[in-house]
Subunit: 227 residues, 6 copies
């Protein structure tokens, strides 16, 4: 996070199977499976609804109003990566548009997560290249100051280390440390396994109060019912 | 608002016909018919576009990061209710997802209005269960501290008493006190009655200046035209 | 900006061809072609996705909670105009709905840009009348205090002089001074001319690093690669 | 909250002794003694540091950009009151300055709590008339539209009924329902009674872990220590 | 506002006597005397309390994260000027510290108004060099991209033309167009002339309701008193 | 950051001399000496003006609305530490007051940096225990859910590893990695060494344009002067 002007070419990406498998679980289930940590702030929103992806993080540290390092990052992208971009100060400029998206896509990137602005969002939606960002802005950027590629970054309040797994959908974005990816996948799948049964019960009118056996602890906590 | 750890089981719901009839008028017209009061803050947004509902309020007071009371509330829901949830402090966590929505729907709830976050929004949209919320967040919650059900709450700046009518659409959310529901329905319908005629006039090019006879008061107020 | 209670009837609109032609280029390209200035703040968002328009500005200066001047403005609208509304203080009320939109449309307006709230957004989308606004709110307004029409206004941080060209799309809103419209159109078209070639190259896997000859300046700036 | 254009002259003020006595306890202790409810949102800040007051609420419902009702409220103020002002929409205008403060003070008011802006803050500090507000703004207001005096209002997220006790200091503002004032005073005093002993212990180096006997519950919750 | 890379050396400053005289009136009174316009947004706050200044504007247009133009501006400052700095995008970096303040002061500047961040605030307070800013931030800036000096700028929502009068105090900042300075001074003085008498009346217990003869218009507007 | 329910007792604190020496340089100079990184977001503000401290970080990860771990952290504090507290979700509650401050101070803590709220600020100022926080709030917290002590945390957008050096003053807060503390101290001292000479020059009227030899690069960049 503190190193500027450097590009790490060899990063250790999380297990591919785990990285790919987490998409299906979604950000909420994955975050629960991790023990309720790892989420980026909820101001990070998708530029269009419905995308649900996971992949390995290539990280970028940007300077305010300067997108030079996104071009440098493109070369480091491999199939199955998601680019995660942080800025050294708060900035709402539009760092990324359809040309960079074309390049990222050609290199195998699945998405961009950026704690700043993005533009050409209509074209990005038509291309099917999803972006989670702080905002949308036409404001262009310059190419004058060095940042870094593939150093650990704090993006929207979460630490992202290169190679970590990123899971993003309409609910938000979560980062899974590479070393925990396989275990989190398993835990998330286990979590989801019995959701269908629960859903059926609840749909039939059974109450969570009964299904989760909450009546007794609620009474113990002192809940009073008044008629 | 000040009572914690209590569930009121018998609430006086607004007249059903009025509660159901207000949906068609929409939040803007209803708020005007009430004398321009009763709106929740505009940061409350629908998780998907196009839903337009009304119903009687079952209220919930939640603790920060704790959704226990939503399960307690489910049991109090009847056909035609809308759950209105407030938190004792500002919180953006995702208190509500598809499982709770399945339960609420099975109990007859039409929607949720919550001054906090919600998740599983893609599934909620597919289920057709509308939610108006402060934000969308994957962040999960715990079940440890008591709040209350069916006490008066302040939700997004508006006082909501159990049984009041909630009207929500793409423009926002308004709360109509139960005792005024029938009268407000009438006033809102009267308001809307002559909108079609006005719209036709304006569409033909007639100016509001003339249709509303504004030229004279504008002149009196001192409006100058410069060529 | 400092004049209240006045309506300028004769404004000098930008060259029609330039005003109409800029829509196709979009806000990001136009803003770049102007030297990266003229943008309204990114909190200005379209009420529905996909609209892309340009037109000549009819400006309105409103008082907080008071939409009287929008009715006065309607009379000044001509074919191809876009109404740009500022408020003398920060306000989130819903100043504009489907009736005013019907009137504006009948007069030839293509869109509204307003640094405040708007309502009836579902109907506006059905009508195909696009609005860029600070927020959406059911809150109604009164008609009691004079503002002005066709004076220079600051709207969402940008100076807009009556007759300027407004370009708005999903990325945001930009204002082009009337005197520069033709030149900006040309510059924007030139900018876009070689985008197709660039896009094809990037899609084939060529890197921006090479296409833009960035490797040498990056090295000169001190960028280090670590294996 | 829903009634406009009315002034209630006879309100039931909380017990004077309780209303006066709560100031010494401060907003944090009083809010705890109430069961952790009743606080206004933390964006309400004092215009100068160090004031600590309590008193009985005279409430005002204002229209956006219009301070007419503050003049109406002045007449309803009695010795020991605190004026609590809400606005029907979000507004940052400067509703209140040194002239109104002079009048309020002459009538016996101890402070103003307003969910909007205030001005002349240097003079107010010199006068020793404390205000808790959403912001500071030079923006003036008009006198054109009716609100109400002494109706229940929602101010900064809290319901305030006329006659309730307001406690405000550098930490924030809390509202105590009139009926609970005496009991809350007692509870708050009890709470504070053993604080001196606790403070002395902690100052001597005793840990809260031991003083509050937290080690065992922490262990039960699973806390691990790693050397 | 649209011109980058240019420094205007000869600007027409407002009448010196008016520019100097307006400080004593303060931002609220001056804004009222102008017809309630010209204020910068209320997020502009002084870095220390108690400063009250007026002077003629030297304007600066800055790029995000780049304070190069502040050094260029220093040369254009004359005795009695206030530097007004805007940024082409939203930025919270600390553009200005004690070294630049030393330089500005030596050139005769009375204050800085900047729609961005400032640092070394403790030293600035000790030097008695007042700044009104969007925020305080340690974040440093670079010197790489041209902006402009003495072009019209939009600063915190207000248009400021070089030579205009800036009035700033604890209540906020207002801009008076150079051409209107003398007239506004007169109007502001007239406004203030009878404030002492009013204050004395109000202090004696006379109500604004009577002093401003509001009872009759309130009754006409329909105000009801309930006992 | 991802580990909950654990307390690391043995952390490697930065070199004491460096940790202590950095206070005198201040957050702005230290951040520049690090290459312009390491700052916490500017919304972190001191609860009173004038404090300037540095020390070694003891980190705490808190749950929303729950301050249990602050008590656990107290035991891990040694002379010269600064407690840095992050929350797993956005929260404005008042986690810390005068009792905890008494305990922290008794253990040798110099300050608290917390990305949440704090209360009893008047007493904290009287005690001379400085706090940098997101906000001030009377809202109390519970003690029910485990977080961690001395794990790496993201606090207000910056990664803080236990043992890092924290430097905080009126301008903000910066985190210096333990391993770089001595080198940063040296760089910061070097940076400050020639500030006195520069200040004297600027005070005598020499322009930064000349002192920093900016005229030539500005001309090369294309700056035009217009008379």
């Amino acid at each position: 996070m503190y190193e500027l002007g450097v590009v790490y070419r060899n990063i250790v990406r999380a297990d591919r199977e785990a990285a790919d498998g987490l998409a299906a679980l979604g950000s909420a289930t994955v975050h629960e499976a991790m023990g309720r940590v790892g989420l980026l702030k909820p101001y990070m929103r998708p530029i269009y609804a419905g995308a649900q992806v996971s992949g390995t993080a290539v990280t970028v540290l940007l300077q305010p109003g300067d997108n030079w390092m996104l071009h440098v990052a493109a070369e480091q992208v491999r199939d199955g990566d998601i680019v995660v971009a942080a800025v050294t100060a708060e900035c709402t400029d539009g760092y990324f548009g359809d040309l960079l998206a074309t390049s990222f896509k050609a290199r195998g990137a699945r998405a961009l997560v950026i704690d700043a602005g993005v533009r050409d969002v209509k074209t990005l939606a038509e291309m099917g290249f999803p972006v989670w960002s702080r905002c949308i802005s036409s404001k262009g950027t310059i190419k004058a100051t060095l940042g870094s590629v593939n150093v650990p970054v704090v993006c929207a309040g979460a630490l992202v280390t290169p190679g970590d797994v990123i899971v993003a959908d309409d609910d938000g974005v979560v980062c899974v440390p590479a070393a925990r990816a396989a275990q989190v996948l398993q835990a998330a799948q286990a979590r989801e396994a019995n959701e269908a049964a629960k859903r059926a019960k609840l749909a039939s009118g059974v109450l969570g109060l009964d299904m989760y056996a909450m009546r007794e602890p609620l009474e113990r906590a002192g809940l009073r019912y008044v008629d």
